[in-house]
Amino acid sequence: MRVQLFATCLGDLLFPDAVADAEALLRAAGCDVDFPRGQTCCGQPAFNAGHRRAADRLARNFTRAFDPDVPVVCPSGSCASMVAHRMPVRYDVWELSSFLDDLDAEPPARNDGLRLAYHSSCHLLRELGVDEAPRRLLGRTGAELVPLTRPDLCCGFGGTFSVRHAEVSVAMADDKLADGGRADALVTADPGCLMHLQARSSKVGGVRVVHLATALARGAA
């Protein structure tokens, strides 16, 4: 099956290894992976900040770069939701884990003996309704899943929110890191959450935060 990989801007610029892991997982699941060279960003930062004209510019670029007749897969719940709900063209867009789970993919058993906590990114959970797929996949890699006490809570990123309300945003990250701190690593399917949680965790010496694609492809250790 042919798919188009949308790296997302954060994936491309900050987490290229996680995107490479996503690509490897897709190939292992039997997909032919295209990487449309014209891709940049889905425009969500502008959209969520209210700058619709700026968001439209990026949406138009997205529609030039991606073929609406080929499924789009991206390692980000938030960007997948943006593409699913806010584009002028309808795409068959999937967040990576829901796509792999739908294919009954069997990621390698790289997490044997590891205790992992999964943070549901808000847009993946509430806008795309994907809840169990990431946990199911992690389970297949041999990880023991440690349930979060408050899986419903946002990590505090929220794009420009993390700067406008920095104190609250950081306090939210602290709760998430503490909640995930009982595990060996905290896994998330969203580069936004990943960037934010890593940034806080590295400042205060908290739990390791890993992208889901990496945890599935190479293990979270």
Partner: protein
């Protein structure tokens, strides 16, 4: 502009209360036969009234007057304050006993009555505590969420003139005694109204303590403050809404008292007011009926969105505007007061969508926040600098070649930190993320 985090004590209180209320709602929803169907029905009942407020209002007023009540339709807060004050002075009132009403907070009624020489006493326990403390409610249904028993003991002891033990039972008994005197002496009872039924001219009042019953039974005059949008067509429709209200608010099946008041006392009855006035307040509500914003008028003030909101949970109600807080406040207040006066509220959300998922009447709260942010930009309220930054960024990144160029330059220079202001703010509690040495696209 930026919301603070509550101090440790208030944080713990808010956290515990919101968690309990949230869990109460989810268990109560699970006990309902088909909560999704009920939510859909509730939403359509609310929108039916909102789409024809004039028609529903006319029907309600006619039915209320047929039952012997008096309707006063007020377009502004000022008019509503003056109307209630006039009703009280016409009744030569010295003391007004109030049952909880967010609308009375919205129109700042107490100050107006006091200025007219009328003593006003809040009789809802939480509101009474706040009135003694001189503070605003911080939660729609748990107004004194941040106060401890010790705080309350100090306030009640001052009224009592002798120490009241900071024990729950003792505090409740002291308040009961203090407020019973108020119910018995009050000339006017002032309440809100959770709903008004167009067919019967009734107002529906939902309470747990019973104060709503006493202020509508003992004083000579009853004044009910009704938000214009709280009209429901029929009693059947009311049944749907009250089946959702308590489960969503407190996690109860029903509150202890659900009261339908239809006109003043009738011949032969021993108690109940001689006059019943319903003061129907617009105060910006009809102006909300543009685009998707009219959905906000469906709000039944249950507080469910506050309890699930991670921002409310950290900052508490006082970080928002004085009356309505949490996600519903962040949407409603800018719409009622004008975006230019409340430009910060639409940004007081990480857009996690927990509010939308928790809303019993299916108001797309986080989508409305997005629309408000769009309008902040569209109406030129967002700063010029911010608009310019997004414009330039989008022009660069909407062309792949300029994206590659700009990100290559950024990697060569000092990355995100070079973004000055936002980067500095970010870096206060977090490390700045470093751009990868090779972009993903460079590896293919």
């Amino acid at each position: 502009m930026s919301f603070p985090v509550l101090d440790e004590h208030r944080l713990a209180a808010t956290d515990a209360a919101t968690l309990r209320l949230m869990n109460g709602r989810t268990s109560a929803w699970a006990r309902l036969d088909d909560v999704e169907e009920l939510r859909e029905r509730a939403h359509s009942i609310r929108m039916q009234a909102i789409d024809d407020l004039e028609g529903h209002l006319a029907r309600f007023v006619a039915a209320l007057e047929a039952a012997g009540g008096t309707a006063h339709v007020c377009s502004t807060a000022e008019e509503a304050r003056a109307t209630v004050t006039r009703i009280c002075t016409d009744a030569a009132a010295k003391l007004a006993a109030k049952s909880k009403s967010m609308l009375s907070e919205e129109i700042e009624l107490n100050g107006a009555l006091e200025a007219a020489g009328i003593e006003v006493v809040e009789t809802d326990l939480g509101e009474y505590i706040l009135q003694l403390a001189g503070e605003h409610p911080v939660h729609i249904i748990a107004p004194a969420i941040e106060k401890t028993a010790a705080d309350v003991a100090v306030l009640l002891s001052a009224v009592e003139g002798e120490p009241v033990e900071p024990e729950l039972e003792a505090l409740a008994q002291a308040a009961r005694k203090q407020l019973r005197r108020v119910f018995e002496r009050a000339d006017v009872g002032i309440t809100g109204a959770n709903f008004a039924v167009c067919d019967t001219g009734s107002i529906c009042l939902v309470t747990n303590e019973g104060n709503g019953g006493l202020v509508t039974a003992l004083p000579r005059v009853h004044v009910a403050l009704l938000g214009l949008e709280r009209l429901v067509p029929t009693l059947d429709d009311l049944a749907v809404l009250i089946q959702l209200l308590a489960p969503s608010g407190t996690g109860q099946t029903l509150t202890s008292y659900t009261r339908l008041l239809t006109g003043p006392r009738r011949p032969g009855e021993d108690d109940g007011p001689e006059e019943m006035h319903v003061v129907i307040v617009d105060n910006g509500r009809t102006g909300l009926r543009r685009g998707r914003y009219k959905e906000m008028l469906a709000c039944i003030r249950c507080g469910a969105c506050l309890n699930v909101c991670p921002v409310y949970r950290k900052s508490g109600g006082s970080a928002y505007s004085p009356v309505y807080s949490g996600p519903m406040g962040a949407v409603l207040v800018p719409l009622l007061r004008g975006l230019e006066r409340e430009p910060g509220l639409p940004h007081a959300s990480s857009l996690c969508g927990a509010c939308t998922a928790a809303c019993p009447v299916k108001i797309p709260l986080h989508e409305l926040l997005l629309d408000l942010r769009r309008d902040l930009v569209g109406e030129g309220i967002a700063s010029r600098r911010e608009r310019l930054a997004f414009a330039i960024w989008s022009m660069l990144w909407s062309r792949p070649i300029l994206y590659r160029l700009s990100t290559a330059i950024a990697r060569a220079g000092r990355p995100f930190g070079a973004l000055a202001g936002p980067g500095r703010t970010w870096a206060q509690g977090r490390t700045l993320p470093a751009l990868a040495r090779r972009r993903f696209r460079d590896s293919r």
